[in-house]
Point group: C2
DNA sequence: CGATTATATTTCATTATCCGAAATAAATAG
DNA sequence: CTATTTATTTCGGATAATGAAATATAATCG
């Protein structure tokens, strides 16, 4: 037996993913930055002062990649690098004024579109979407779990 | 007034996006293909026989990019190129047996994880997640709409 | 202290992406 | 037949992403 509901949800999920990806790309185009650069700049800005290692870990990039992207952000005057005093192995990254302005001026289209349309919905529907999305995130998010326990739960509908 | 619900939903949405991206990447790693190559191969397989132009359009890649990726897929024996008889400008791409096997053997982890966990949920919760995700996709998906109408709907909660 | 080990970042070499513009080739319109 | 349009590829160039090696600092242990 196939689960129609699971199928339909996956289909909707793919639509969500496509929409989100399109948003990211258009946003990047608007700022003149590439998606990766934008991601890194955001991560830096969100944390005030971070080390490349943390950024790499958060974004699941290699350190080498982060270094290269930060090189460009620094060259563009959007981010700064400074060696930590406490631990001189560490570099502290920060967004410059220009970098913050760049992020502020190029608001996340995903957010903008989302906010406007979401606000127009009745409260009960907002609540339902929130609950559904959170559950979905829960389902997808657990990654430390290995496959075995899943299979123990009995017959699983094939998708 | 800020909408807590909108905020929370966006947060959950970001978790979903992160999980999905991680899934794609791990899947690609498992097959030995890069995410882009996998995307292209999937798109080709899903349609049986397609032209590079259609693939480029669907994935929002440039034709040049698709050509380069197809080059690799062909070199790996996963896809084939053949000139169309009806219109000799067209190239028809198809997944080879090996290509289809490659896709089949590397099942979408997103789907796998999702299917197992989803099936374990009570029916009402499955229905709720479906409804929420579909509405979310609706909200995000409309892209032909320009920005203006959004702003006409009155005050918009800032996110 | 001095040697070793661990941590943090960068450099280097390599492969893959992704694109715009020009080139190539075939279909179609006038 | 010539011009235009359509479909794809080639080319040149910037970016992205990685693993492995190099560099530098910190911390630990005898």
């Amino acid at each position: 037996m196939e689960s129609e509901i699971a199928n339909a949800t996956l289909k909707a999920l793919r639509r969500v993913l496509r929409a989100a990806e399109g948003g990211t790309r258009r946003l990047a185009a608007a700022t003149g930055l590439t998606p990766s650069q934008l991601l890194v700049l955001r991560e830096i800005d969100a944390r005030g002062e971070v080390t490349p290692g943390i950024v790499a870990q958060r974004l699941e990039f290699s350190h080498a990649t982060v270094t290269a992207i930060v090189d460009r952000l620094v060259a563009l005057g959007l981010a700064s690098r400074a060696r930590s005093d406490q631990d001189k192995r560490r570099m502290l990254l920060a967004a410059t004024e220009k970098g913050r302005r760049c992020l502020a001026e190029a608001p996340d289209m995903l957010q903008e579109i989302f906010a406007a349309r979401f606000a127009a919905l009745p409260a009960w529907e907002q609540a339902m979407i929130l609950a559904g999305t959170e559950r979905l995130a829960d389902i997808l998010g657990v990654r430390e779990m290995d496959a075995a326990p899943l299979l123990d739960t009995g017959a699983i509908d094939r998708i």
